[in-house]
């Protein structure tokens, strides 16, 4: 992709994001409930008090006006303030993105290693027993609910064995690198298992496809060893079509680790999203969703770039 094409694609992102924001805004506000629901059972918060708070946050204005004001502020870089905490949305998000990136990076690395190892082995042993075992494992990864697997691991490793902390980012007051790693093991494993299972399947299919090609036969004929053929000719070709799916999954790992973060009380962007959704904290919800959308779009762009680097045929102008 040339610099000009890249710039054009980047500029195209802006109207796309505005369109997405319009849809998100409409959907969020059409959902029942509102940020003042937290007071529903509290009889000392009178309708007058609620009206006062609603007025202060502009919640009493027509939706179109609310959206226009939000968009105007957003375009000059003002993400607004959280209704729940009164803090800037940008602060809320930047504070929570770190733990999510940490979790997503570790989970993605483990998932990628798992996918490459299992995908190559399964494809090399297509139809054999080990292939069927791997198929069963990946089926488990795709079908076992994340929260259930999380609870089982917590029960086993925290309650029964007492080896790993069951939740949180660190031991409060006594944090070290090892401590943080111990806290990371279970959530990363759960997230990696689900993601890695899907990637394994893509890679296996890509590998089987690649291994049937003529150039593989040629490589064997040249006397290359089996591992060399599998990795250099098989995996390299199989990974190209898988890249776009993996890149999109990377974005969803960042924006979509909602359940994993909830089960393991991981203070990331996913749990911020759930808390904001519960509290109908519109400004934070919009911020998180828009950042998530931007991540998906950029990941897509990145996937195209990487694919171009790996496969010269895909490079354009």
């Amino acid at each position: 992709m040339s610099a000009g094409a890249l710039l054009r694609r980047l500029l195209g992102v802006i109207p796309l994001l505005i369109g997405i924001s319009l849809i998100l805004f409409a959907v969020i506000h059409l959902a029942p409930g509102g940020p003042l629901d937290v007071y529903a059972d509290n009889p000392s918060v009178t309708p007058e008090a609620l009206a006062r708070i609603a007025r202060a946050y502009g919640l009493d204005r027509p939706l179109t006006v609310q959206y226009a004001l939000w968009l105007k502020a957003m375009l000059i870089g003002d993400w607004g303030y959280s209704i729940r905490t009164g803090r800037p949305v940008l602060t809320e998000i930047t504070e929570r993105i770190g733990p999510t990136l940490e979790l997503a990076a570790v989970a993605a690395s483990v998932a990628l290693l798992m996918a490459m190892a299992l995908g190559v082995v399964a494809a090399a042993r297509d139809g054999r027993r080990i292939d069927r075992v791997i198929e069963l494992v990946t089926l488990g990864g795709l079908s076992i609910p994340v929260f259930w697997l999380g609870l089982v691991l917590q029960y086993l490793f925290s309650v029964k064995l007492g080896w790993l902390p069951s939740a949180g980012l660190e031991t409060i007051g006594g944090s070290s690198f090892g401590d943080r790693l111990a806290h990371l093991v279970m959530p990363a494993a759960v997230l990696a298992f689900a993601t890695g299972a899907a990637w394994t399947r893509y890679l296996r299919a890509g590998m089987i496809d690649a291994l049937r090609q003529d150039y593989v036969r040629t490589a064997y004929a040249k006397g290359l060893s089996r591992p060399a053929v599998l990795l250099r000719h098989g995996l390299r070709n199989a990974i190209v079509p898988a890249i776009s799916i993996i890149a999109l999954d990377l974005a969803s790992l960042i924006s979509g680790a909602v359940i994993t973060e909830a089960v393991f009380a991981w203070p990331g962007i996913g749990s911020l999203f759930v808390e904001s959704l519960d509290g109908r904290d519109y400004p934070v919800l919009m911020g998180v969703l828009l950042a998530g959308s931007a991540a998906v779009i950029l990941a897509n762009l990145l996937a195209d770039l990487v694919q171009g680097l790996l496969d010269p045929r895909l490079r354009d102008g």
């Binding site: 029942p32 937290v38 202060a56 749990s271």
Partner: protein, 538 residues
């Protein structure tokens, strides 16, 4: 050895190695037994702010950090905290104006109390708190108690004189009981986004040293805390109190089982039974100032017929409702929670008796039609019952109510709403019947619910006699008079039946057996208000 079996061998060894490494990395810290004097409590909600006047949640953390002049104890009675006594007419703390319209309350403040930063606590802080909460620019969740005071004087640093425009028996329920704000730190500061909201400074037994949003609040023992135990030992006993934020209740209880948590003050009913009998964990039941009830909308002409309301009262079996809620709630027969002195144990009751319920409807001329639904002169007994959608316990109880109404020939169907829609329905009367609950502080203002113009009276219930009784109850400080009015209110409610009280909720506290001296608290001040006296056995 085949390739495949070699692969399996490797992965098994790898997995074991990984687990061993992780165990080593966790510092071999035994999760089950913490030797230090730290109590770790679990919170099921993410904290919005630590400012006690702004939060939408109960002030669990705040109760350990910030103190008020008074506080409710385990029996929902006020005890002095930063004041030296609870003002009353008997002790001269309250003086009614000669013409009986207004009153003056004088608080004598405790001497020698210091804020967490070392500054002395004085009457100026109390007067500042009133001004700050009353300030229209401050978006407090509730300004209750601030508007009723018309002036505050501080004749000396340890005396506060509050002037009220009218006699207000509920003076202790809000403002100065919630907590006092430090004037020296907050004067001229915008309280809506002050750093104080993240790191409150109080006079309480624990000092907030770190607040990580979405994770935890770390508090340390206040070394200069003013309170001592009976033996003269300075409180609190515990060195560190940590509040961990774990919104997922399964994870919360896993942490309790693994020993990573010591205390959960609100165990979900469906999980409380699993905790029962678990080694090292005690379950404590604590009453709450809440009652679940079925209300009638008087805008519906059929529901204005007392025969129908009476029949429904006899048709409801509270034991079934208690059962579906895990057996933890208790049947309620009055809107006044039994813990209060004002509770009338002999208030008129409508025992569960479907035969009688049907007889009442028969006598009133409502006869079953071909579809089994009763009708009179073409008016079918068919009603919409509204409750808040998404509240599983409430929706379950609602189903029982619907079935019990059906059993006496009344058709009722769920019309549940969420959020604003639900609240609007409840406040503006868009329902035939509504099943819901109220949670109150120590001094519930019942006129909110049952007076003709009560802010929470969405039922359009109106009885001048009731208005009179409530006005009487809420404008006198004479306990005998108030109790008499409260009993009259309960009697009239049972006669008029605008509402049928059904159950009282109970908080189930799960705690580590090491934790001693724990006292539950039924009020919105939470059990943490007495955490200075908690201790951990070795």
């Amino acid at each position: 050895m085949t390739d495949a079996s070699r692969g399996q061998n490797w992965s098994r060894r790898g997995a074991l190695g990984g687990i061993a490494a992780a165990t080593t990395l966790s510092g071999c810290r035994p999760l089950r037994r913490r030797a230090d004097n730290t109590l770790v409590a679990g919170l099921t909600y993410d904290l919005d702010t630590l400012n006690v006047y702004s939060t939408g949640f109960l002030g669990d953390v705040q109760a350990a950090v910030v103190e008020g002049l008074l506080a409710p104890d385990a029996h929902a009675r006020y005890v002095p905290v930063l004041a030296t006594s609870v003002p009353s007419i008997a002790n001269g703390g309250i003086v009614i104006d000669p013409d009986g319209t207004g009153m003056t309350i004088t608080y004598a403040l405790r001497r020698g109390v210091r804020w967490h930063d070392g500054a002395p606590f004085t009457a100026a802080d109390v007067a500042f708190t009133w001004r700050a909460v009353r300030n229209p620019a401050f978006l407090a969740e509730s300004k209750d108690g601030a508007e009723e005071i018309v002036a505050i004087e501080t004749p000396d640093p340890f005396t506060v004189v509050c002037r009220y425009a009218k006699v207000t028996p509920t003076f202790a329920a809000t403002l100065f009981t919630f907590g006092i704000l430090p004037k020296h730190l907050l004067e001229g500061v915008n309280l809506n986004n002050a750093p104080y909201n993240e790191r409150p400074i109080g006079t309480g037994p624990f000092i907030v040293t770190r607040f990580r949003r979405g994770q935890y609040v770390l508090t340390e023992r206040n070394p200069h805390y003013w309170r001592r135990d009976a033996a003269g030992r300075q409180l609190p006993y515990i060195d560190r109190l940590i509040f961990k934020i774990i919104p997922n209740s399964n994870t919360l209880l896993t942490q309790l089982r693994s020993g990573e948590l010591d205390l959960v003050t609100q165990t979900p009913y469906d999980q409380a039974k699993q905790m029962n009998g678990l080694a090292g964990v005690d379950l404590v039941r604590s009453p709450l100032l809440s009652w679940q009830h079925l209300d009638f909308n008087f805008r519906n002409p059929l529901l204005r017929d007392p025969a129908i309301r009476r029949a429904i009262a006899h048709a409801l079996d509270r034991s079934a409702m208690v059962k579906v809620n895990g057996g933890f709630q208790t049947p309620a027969w009055s809107v006044v929670v039994p813990i209060f002195d004002f509770h009338d144990p002999h208030a008129l009751r409508y025992p569960y008796d479907p035969v009688r319920a049907r007889a009442i409807l028969d006598a009133a001329g409502y006869v079953p039609g071909p579809d089994g639904v009763r009708a009179r002169a073409g008016a079918r007994l068919s009603f919409r019952v509204v409750t808040q959608a998404g509240k599983a316990d409430d929706e379950l109880t609602q189903q029982i109510i619907l079935a019990q109404l059906k059993a006496i020939g009344i058709e009722a169907f769920a019309d549940n709403k969420m959020g604003i829609a639900y609240r609007q329905a409840r406040y503006k009367g868009d329902f035939d019947m509504t099943y819901s609950s109220w949670v109150t502080g120590v001094d519930p203002v019942y006129s909110r619910f049952f007076a003709t113009h009560g802010s929470n009276n969405g039922q359009a219930y109106s009885n001048p006699a009731m208005d009179r009784i409530l006005a009487q109850m809420e404008s006198t400080l004479d306990p005998v008079e108030r109790k008499r009015a409260a009993f009259e209110m309960q009697h009239l409610l049972a006669v008029d039946l605008p509402t049928i009280p059904l159950t009282n909720a109970v908080a189930v506290v799960s705690k580590n057996s090491r934790l001693q001296g724990f006292t539950p608290n039924p009020t919105n001040m939470t059990p943490y208000v007495s955490c200075a006296g908690w201790r951990l056995n070795a």
